[in-house]
């Protein structure tokens, strides 16, 4: 690193969105201390997220802090996905926390801090920054998962996630140290040059290092066989946090996977390509087949989110910009459809029922036709059935993977998506074809919930009818990558 640019105040202008969020996080703690009104917190967070989102598109791009921090269109795209995920989570939490009697003000500040962590991950041009961002994100999420102190499932989830997470972080650090030992750098752009100049492509120690990094990130995206923690954690966490984890941290982890694998180690594609292909098929198989056996919708969606990580891997596996932009597009669409499905789940959670069991959905079309219709759209989109946005997302992934020559993997993906139709359709069947066991109460709607559902529907319809712009945005953000 010859052109080391020292820390200057002007570098901070690149960090506008992150700084806004950081101040909102601190402000939230203060507000929580001095104000009784709980409703202030979610709306303050939502406002902060929106400001950050606006700043995101108005910040200069560049590489600052001595190649440590990269603000490029690629990071902007993923930050957008993460911020959209947070915005949804906040809107969903507004009523949910009252129902669950979760009155901790830290909830929102932790949420915001984990988002700052994700943004650092996404922008990390150096493995160390990526690691720091990852830890900031993970530590906040460990706490969030365990916030339901009275619920033993939540405690178990938090502890399990923490232990497994710590273990995977250890693997990541070990992998990074191996790579550093062989190349003498943790800078990603430098790494790709060193790999070629030092002829490390077939070096075993280097491949072990790469493998360990890969494992750590597969753990974060819950790709099989590193998914074991996911079902329990997703089920035990507060539903709003489950929705959050399935979207934002996963997107951030995919961003790093994309940056590390395609930017740092594109020349080693022959080694990691087949591994990712195998992991993708295994993830889809385990996620989709295990979901069939679930009686709880929340757990089913947990397995479905594992399966969707498998689909998203199809784009990474292609190992080129086309694939990466397909994955980006998919994660964006997934944010909307998954948040929509969780919004319905949370909407049905009140004092009488939890909204988590499949049985709670019997006869929903009769008692709450609009809620059932919205759920229907999200479910069909999760299947990836035309004409929903989910199909568009899947279609790009298939195009990219077939172009890269992974026909067998794609055929497997298609077969598993038919299998997935079975368990998503079961919810539809409960809602529409069966009668309610007991008279279900009407749902009470709140402003946040309405906003979340409207936003999700706008996203669904918009991306189903005009799918072009998001893909070209993703594609353009990869130019010169």
């Amino acid at each position: 690193m010859n052109t080391f640019s020292p820390f200057t105040l002007s570098s901070l202008s690149f960090l506008g969105p992150e700084l806004v969020l950081l101040s909102v996080g601190i402000l939230l703690i203060v507000v929580d201390l001095f104000f009784e009104n709980r409703l202030l917190l979610p709306w303050l967070t939502a406002a902060g997220t929106l400001v950050s989102l606006v700043l995101l598109f108005n910040s200069p791009s560049g590489i600052v802090f001595g190649y440590m921090y990269v603000v490029d269109a690629y990071s902007v795209f993923f930050k957008m996905v993460c911020l959209v995920g947070v915005l949804f989570t906040v809107l969903l939490s507004e009523r949910y926390l009252t129902t669950e009697k979760l009155r901790h003000g830290e909830y929102y500040s932790l949420l915001v801090f984990s988002t700052v962590g994700m943004m650092a991950m996404v922008s990390g041009g150096d493995l160390i920054v990526v690691y720091l961002g990852l830890e900031l994100m993970a530590l906040s999420v460990y706490c969030l998962v365990g916030l339901l102190k009275q619920d033993s499932r939540s405690n178990e989830a938090s502890l399990k996630y923490f232990l497994m997470g710590a273990f995977s972080t250890g693997l990541l650090l070990y992998g990074i140290s191996l790579i550093y030992g062989l190349t003498g750098t943790t800078d990603l752009s430098m790494l790709s040059q060193r790999v070629v100049s030092l002829d490390l492509i077939n070096n075993h120690a280097f491949l072990v290092g790469l493998g360990l990094v890969l494992v750590a990130f597969c753990f974060k995206v819950a790709a099989a066989p590193f998914h074991m923690w996911a079902p329990d954690v997703y089920e035990g966490a507060p539903s709003s946090i489950t929705a959050f984890m399935a979207v934002a941290p996963k997107a951030a982890a995919f961003a790093v996977l994309g940056r590390v694998l395609i930017m740092g180690f594109a020349d080693v594609h022959i080694h990691w390509g087949p591994i990712i292909a195998f992991l993708a098929v295994l993830t889809m198989a385990i996620g989709n087949i295990a979901a069939i056996a679930q009686k709880s919708l929340k757990r089913m969606l947990a397995y479905s989110s594992i399966a969707h990580a498998g689909y998203a891997l199809l784009g990474i596996l292609a190992g080129n910009n086309e694939g990466l932009s397909a994955t980006m597009n998919y994660l964006f669409i997934y944010a909307f459809m998954n948040m929509g499905a969780f919004a319905i789940l949370i909407l049905l959670c009140d004092n009488k029922r939890r909204g988590e069991q499949l049985d709670d959905y019997r006869g929903l079309a009769k008692t709450n036709p609009l809620v059932a219709a919205l759920m229907l759209v999200f479910l069909f989109s999760l299947v990836g059935l035309p004409p929903t946005a989910g199909f568009i997302g899947k279609f790009y992934l298939l195009v990219a993977a077939i172009h890269a020559g992974y026909i067998v993997t794609v055929v497997a993906a298609m077969i598993f998506s038919v299998i997935s139709a079975y368990y998503y359709l079961r919810v539809v069947r409960y809602m529409y074809f069966e009668n309610a066991v007991q008279e279900t109460a009407a749902v009470s709607i709140s402003p946040g919930m309405t906003a979340a559902l409207v936003l999700a529907m706008i996203g669904m319809i918009g991306m189903a009818t005009f799918p072009g712009p998001i893909l070209s945005f993703a594609g353009k953000s990869l130019i010169g990558f």
Partner: protein
């Protein structure tokens, strides 16, 4: 884009045809009152039918190019377009779809008593998507509307169906979905094997792909279409779906959804993978014969009227695939005509079963025996439609089946001879049904007080009866529109086979 004759009027007529039912469906949600909703759905379907009629009169039968074309860019990054157009192969299918839909609304007038709004919504939605299937000239758009037909049908069976509706609807959905997902893989593979990459269906025709690639693509397509038709070993979803579906669902299923399969053979398999089509022809012909005989024998053994007609469909669709794959003008035009005929006749038969079910609440032959005594007008209709179904001379199916068999004999005497018993079987099971229903005795106590057809029901059946005789006695206007397209299609298939491949073979990557 010389294959596409762009529509020169100021109204994009094909888009309007698709959007009318779609908009009508969503407007249903602001319309209060079940009665008004029914009239609204009827009005929308009649309007769509009225708008579609000019297609026939402005259609130019001398060209094989796609007419009334529309072309707009949709996803530029992947060269996905919104391209619509119809030729002699799709014209009659479009017209049949639009003309049948008002009848489907009419036949549900009294049959559907719950969730009328949602029912009419599904009907209008499925009309829009089915029309899209027959008009799409871009593969991605085609795939979207092709799969989208599943969703309303799934609800039609699952919500308004019979006792085993859940089983039937899920089987229908998963079976057909499983068949068509591989088609998507084949579509993308075709895209990358064509230079420049394109999803435009006409541009993918006659590209001279390598024979091994053609075979893979053909198999993927074949699976999707054979399940939809359904051809013999893939037919098990059909009886379940038909028996459980409400009358309108059965009519749509038999008349239009099944035709999407045979249409797929004509539009995609033959022109895009001609060499593979010729290679697989013998197997498909024998499968068709198996379907004809199997459907006939199974229909003979049914005691449920709907199941009987469902199995007869398997046999009739066997005739159609036979006609398509004999690969000569007679067979193919006969198959195309028979697609329309089957839509009219079998649709009408399902309507008839629905009418009797509304009165006696059973579809059992034994329990419906002897209604002829009380419902003379009804059984007159039933008799004519049954005669049409068994291809009695003077009715529409006679022309179609005759042409198919003529084509069959030109292709192979053995195969055509093996298919002949299918025609005899059709007579056997249809006459058996007629004999029971019309002259089955008068000792059935539940029949006293049965009322004959009312005006609505007569209005539902009469247009179909008119078409039965119109096509049966004067088929020329219907066949004339096909000539150019069928001749072009055959030239694509056979010419491709014997002539020189126009392009260097493009190998698998």
């Amino acid at each position: 884009m010389d294959f596409l004759i762009l529509h020169d009027g100021w109204l994009p007529i094909l888009s309007i045809l698709m959007i009318l039912p779609l908009a009508g469906a969503f407007l249903l949600f602001v319309i209060p009152g079940e009665n008004f909703q029914k009239y609204w759905a009827l009005g929308v379907t009649i309007l769509t039918a009225a708008v579609s009629l000019p297609l026939y009169y402005s259609f130019d039968p001398t060209t094989h190019n796609y007419q009334f074309g529309e072309h707009h860019s949709w996803i530029p990054a992947l060269n996905v377009n919104y391209t619509l157009g119809i030729d002699g192969i799709s014209l009659l299918l479009v017209l049949m779809t639009t003309l049948l839909m008002p009848l489907c609304v009419l036949c549900s007038w009294r049959y559907i008593t719950t969730k009328v709004r949602a029912f009419m919504f599904c009907l209008l939605l499925i009309e829009s998507t089915m029309l899209g299937v027959f008009m799409a000239l871009d593969f991605v758009f085609f795939y979207i509307v092709w799969e989208a037909t599943l969703i309303p049908m799934f609800f039609l069976i699952g919500v308004w169906g019979g006792e085993r509706k859940i089983y039937a609807s899920i089987k229908f959905f998963l079976y057909t979905l499983a068949g068509s997902v591989l088609m998507l893989v084949a579509i993308i593979a075709l895209y990358f094997n064509t230079d420049p990459h394109t999803f435009s269906i006409p541009l993918l025709m006659g590209q001279g792909y390598s024979s091994i690639f053609q075979k893979w693509v053909f198999v993927a397509f074949f699976l999707a279409f054979a399940i939809k038709v359904p051809m013999f070993p893939f037919h098990t979803w059909l009886p379940a779906a038909h028996v459980q579906a409400p009358t309108a669902g059965s009519v749509i299923l038999a008349s239009v959804l099944l035709k999407m399969g045979t249409y797929g053979f004509l539009r995609f398999c033959l022109p895009i993978t001609p060499a593979a089509s010729v290679t697989f022809t013998p197997y498909i012909l024998w499968l068709s014969v198996a379907g004809i005989l199997y459907g006939g024998f199974t229909a003979l053994a049914q005691s449920d009227m709907k199941k009987l007609i469902a199995y007869s469909s398997v046999g009739h669709m066997g005739f159609i695939t036979l006609g398509i794959f004999v690969l000569n003008p007679n067979g193919m035009e006969g198959a195309l005509l028979q697609m329309i005929n089957h839509g009219i006749t079998t649709g009408a038969l399902f309507l008839c079963v629905g009418i009797i079910y509304e009165r006696t609440h059973t579809r059992e032959l034994a329990l419906n025996a002897g209604v002829g005594m009380y419902m003379p007008v009804y059984v007159t209709f039933l008799a004519f439609f049954s005669l049409s179904s068994l291809a009695f001379p003077g009715t529409n199916s006679f022309i179609g089946e005759f042409m198919i068999l003529a084509g069959g004999f030109a292709k192979s005497k053995l195969i055509a001879t093996c298919a002949i018993p299918g025609a005899i079987l059709a007579a056997a099971y249809m006459l058996r049904m007629l004999q029971k229903v019309i002259w089955g005795g008068t000792e059935n106590p539940i029949h006293t007080g049965l009322s004959d057809l009312n005006t609505r029901e007569i209005v539902t059946l009469a247009p179909l009866l008119l078409l039965v005789f119109w096509i049966g006695l004067a088929p020329k206007p219907f066949i004339n529109v096909m000539h150019a397209s069928v001749a072009h299609l055959l030239e694509q298939v056979i010419g491709m086979q014997t002539g020189i491949a126009p392009m260097a073979n493009v190998l698998l990557p």
